[in-house]
Subunit: 200 residues, 2 copies
Amino acid sequence: MADKEMKASRMKECFIDATKQIIRAEGMVCVSARNVAEKAGYSYATLYHYFEDMKDLVFECVQDFQEECACFIGQRTAGTSEGYAKIRAICRCYVMYFVQYPSIFELFFIEKAPEIARHSGTPALIHGFLDGLCADEWSAPTGSGAVSVGEAKQKKRLLNYMLNGLLLMHVNGRLDLPYGEFMALVDSQLDAVLGTGAEF
Amino acid sequence: MADKEMKASRMKECFIDATKQIIRAEGMVCVSARNVAEKAGYSYATLYHYFEDMKDLVFECVQDFQEECACFIGQRTAGTSEGYAKIRAICRCYVMYFVQYPSIFELFFIEKAPEIARHSGTPALIHGFLDGLCADEWSAPTGSGAVSVGEAKQKKRLLNYMLNGLLLMHVNGRLDLPYGEFMALVDSQLDAVLGTGAEF
DNA sequence: TAGATATATTAACATTGTTAAAAATTTGGG
DNA sequence: CCCAAATTTTTAACAATGTTAATATATCTA
């Protein structure tokens, strides 16, 4: 019966929505079985009928937040012209999103990946997230011969590791800078990888 | 009485040693008050006479591990000639150390910094760790004019964020590569920042 | 409507960090 | 040397965690 599956799926989404709400508003530290279930309006044991365990539930939120982040970036970079400038803009907004929602960065990169999530490909989805966001924009510089395919590949990786490393320091308090100074640091690091833009 | 302080300090070190042993062998996940106290040969409540809380105890291990890491690197880069080559070697060993002891990376960069640790300057100590390890070696390239002071500063930062970002992905399973392939990736990223060495 | 099945809840267990009270030990003074 | 005082250690307890088993409550089928 498809009806059953529909209801089960609706129940799952109910718990997932509650979890997303808690992550956004109170942080990963407040995500507990009892907390989520209460917000969803069910008992904490009911949750275990729809999810293997808490890790399972929590990683189900990743895809939703990725879509939200992509939307956040899309709205803010719609007017930017193609090429390096757009890549810069996307990276900048990528950082801004996680500065605004540090708990979502925590979920993406700091939370331990359980076996179940490893099988479903979630870790790879996360690792390739920034690359995916920029994918379309890299075809322009490589197509025009501004950078070789190999160079582009390396720069993509460098951006991925550098920006997430920077966010890690910021989110976990190893780098205690006010917002403005932090974003200035991000800009200077983007300059170091992509150039100041003057050469294009 | 200095005798009292000596004994208290010896007790603290006893708990710290037990904690370090557990972090190294079993990982951060096994560090608990009862676990540490048992290994130290005391009751779990005794621990609270010498440490504010578990965070306090755990962050006391940072300095010790930093010294150990510096030693690890020193032994493996003693024969390398000065300049960019040495910086590369240091960075490579830095990564190797944390690949060997992922739990120590966890402690340094993934563990949340509590207020008490923030006051004692531990987060800054961690953020500046790689810079400190390479500090002496940067004086050569900047002194000879191979790179400007500003460029050197940017490259230092880029290395710091890029390498720790890479390690974050590796340690948390977002990047599931066997050791050899991971180190090859590290090398290619070091090339991207420092150059292949041919230009010197 | 009665029985079967699916779903939801309560109760329980082991584990966590942390604190208060009780016990043991060490210390200081006569 | 011995008793009181201070200090150090331990036991007991609390609240919160994830997770499971047993129980209750719906819902569906015949």
